[in-house]
Amino acid sequence: MKLPAIALSRDKADTLLLLGTAVLVLAPHTLHLPLWVSLLCGATLAWRAAITLRGKRMPPALVLLPVAVAAMAGVQFSYQTLLGKDAGVAMLVLLVAFKMLEMHARRDLFVVIFLCFFLVLTNFFYAQGIGSALLMAASVLLLLATQLSFQFTGAVPPLRTRLAMAGRMLAFAAPIAIVLFVVFPRIHGPLWSMPGDAGGARSGLSEQMAPGQMSNLALSEEPAFRVRFEGRPPVQAQLYWRGPVLDFFDGLTWSRGASRASGRDLHLSVGGESIDYEVTLEPSQSRWVFTLEMPGALPEVPGHALRISPQFELTSTEPLSSRVRYRASSHLEFAFQRGPTLDDAGRWLLLPYGFNPRALAAGRALRQLADPAQRVEAVLKGFREQPFHYTLAPPLLGRHTVDEFLYATRSGFCEHYSGAFVFLMRAAGVPARVVTGYQGGEINPLDGFMTVRQSDAHAWAEVWIAGHGWQRIDPTAAVAPERVQRGLDASVPRPPPFGIEALRGMNPFQGSSNAWMAQLRNAVNAANNGWNQWVLNYTPERQRDVVRELQRMLFGWPFIALLASACCAVLLLRYLRRRGETDPVDALYSAMCKRLAMLGLARAPDEGPSAYAARVADADTLSPESRGAASEFLRRYSAWRYAPPAADPRLKATLKSLLLLVK
């Protein structure tokens, strides 16, 4: 069926509505698409709008095809691939834009609308906040209104009415959707991995660190893991979650040196109270297993075998592709390799040749301090007292990264501080290494879970001092103590709430003394937290718990009784309403008509009771008394129906007895 396009203003309005919907769906994608894709889409949609408004013809396929091919080439050029998530989204966006210029049949409309639904989904690759959910609701509303608009055949109600119709559908759909969301069986993804998905934007801990090579640290709010403490959680400054240990420095990059042995004998002794907790590790595709420094025993991770390296790095033998939960027990007081000597001390003193001459000289100068602990203290004092400052957007550094950082830029984040500190220590003859992991964590007051996010990733240092073993030193804490004591929030501004830039203005209330503002902030945080817990991380495990809880609630007798009585009430109401609808006298009339029809005297559809009565009175097929009763019935009925209402309380009974006489 061809759309009688363009000639009618109604079709113009519908097409413009479709264009508006497409704009709303495509708009959030401009945040991550290359500029040229956004511009090309904008131009295409504007062209389509101009064609619609001026009633011109659509461009022939001969024009569109080269443009489409060129756009594909552009995607290949921009992303170096046509597969994968980002390139796929770019292709889809272009497809929707071009399809607008190639819409001829009603079927094409559905194609565009369905593609738009899919584009709404792909937006969730990049943002899944509450704002995205609201945008999704608005997009679906518009999509429904558009789809609805194309279904009218006669007069089309105004846009507001159509939006209201779509809104009503959405309102009916939402509760069903919520129930499905809660109970629809979930399985762990991914089902398969597209090329280019792995190693994508997901920021996590890497096994390398190159201070000064990246000028901007991506702060991902994605949780790395969640922790539930059995007792009181330790203070923030004690929360060091140990990850990869980096010991090899090539002048620019710190990386893990070859690990020779597995840690048979770790010489770890622990003291003090043990802290018991349960970690739920988000799937990461890496092998790292995080514990609080230092666990007294190897945790048991179901389904995975764990290894421990001599540097006390916990890894799983297989990549952790699904969420795992494990219990661990740590001690905050510990001594690690407290012997008088270190076996492979040389490994922790290695420095690359020809880099950072000034720092090297400064480190060498520290050797005049006899006690290694004093050398550590001297460097930390330097960080504290000289104008170093903590920033997540430090300037880029050149060849002598440590020199430039220590003597010129003096601004950086944990990587810079720990890297420079370990460099100085090694130059000063103290075995040292960089330890990476997570620091801190945020307790959610709603459920008591502590969430450790990717943005809590941290790097600190360890130095070995004879008789004391490996000591944790966090040079960042010397510069920005609040980073360690209160978490990242305190030291740098957070990304705006819900990921909406316009709400950035709401952030200055951080640290505000105003109680009302603080409350609002708590509410916003709680909402975000609840969103993350219940919508974004509604995992199969969580679903199992919820369903179990629901079952307990639903199959208890109070609920069943409630349900049964509600059903009864509804049925009763319906019955009463139906009774109210048909008059009992009319019901008797229908019964009489049915009876007479069975006797071969069906009422003609256009026959009134009087005419019917006359016909019945003449019918010879009926017995005389039946005939008399029937015509008497009809006469009374007709009188009751058409005469002014004269209350006859016995009418019903009379009619009933007459009805019984007709045989």
Partner: protein, 333 residues
Amino acid sequence: MAQAVWNLRGRLRRATGAWLPRAGTLDDGEVILKQRRVFILPTRAGLGFALLLMVLLIGSINYMLGLGFGLTFLALSCALVDMVATNRNLAHLALQQGRVAPVFAGQEAQFELQVFNRTRLARYAVRADFADVREPRHVADIAPGTHAILTLAVPTLQRGWLAPERVKLSTRFPLGLFNAWSYWRPATRALVYPRPEDGAPPLPLDGGGGGKLRAAGHDDFAGVRNYQAGDSPRQLAWRQIARLGSEYGGALVSKHFEGGGGDQLVLDFDALPASLDLDTRLSRMTRWVLDAESRALPYAFRLGALRFDPALGAAHQAACLRALALYGIEDAA
């Protein structure tokens, strides 16, 4: 796969069509489309939407998009709501057959179908046509408390009674993902008069088989009058039609001829030459009845045992034409 679904659809359609209003069970009087009478199946677009839902679900699982599940289930729920809404758009409509004007064979019989909406729900895009038509030709919106009249035309070939095919009402409103439909077999029939003979001999003004002809009836132009069903195209006053034009809503007018008169006009079937076949004779009688009416000549009518006294007027004409239409047909009630 899609083909298989199509085939299944076709089979289902045939099956439901076969068992619902069985041949012979006519819907007498008013029919209310109860939920049970309304069938529903996804349209092609609905199948596409199902595919989209699968893709959305797989994408959500594969990329672990919590909000993606939200979108998937919201879209699915919208489709479910649409299914109910499509059903409700058709259910509880009340159908009544309207009048069916008699027509001459060769013309189209117009079956009137009245669709009442006594609910509080506005109905949009309710499509109606005979069940064997692929694309329904009639569409109506029915506001609450109003009714729509749909006129379904059927070409006629033979005189006699013409019972209409099953009528199918369907709708895809609001989202077009589902098609709901229902059948209705109205207990109505159209009376089809014989086709008026073209080029018939003039009226037998001598009351006999055509001995004493007064051919003047075709020559004495006496003005124009409104077109009446059965007028021959040659009789149309084209010049006047063109002149009146749109002023009179494009009404057709026929030339009116005076002539004849005086003698009694008897239209006697048996007086027609027996060499003509039955239908030609009936056609000629039909033409004569129309001619006599248009010339306002009272005429007596004889058809077999049936004898009407000379008279004039719509009722007389209708009785004569009805007798001609049903001559020799069993079910002459």
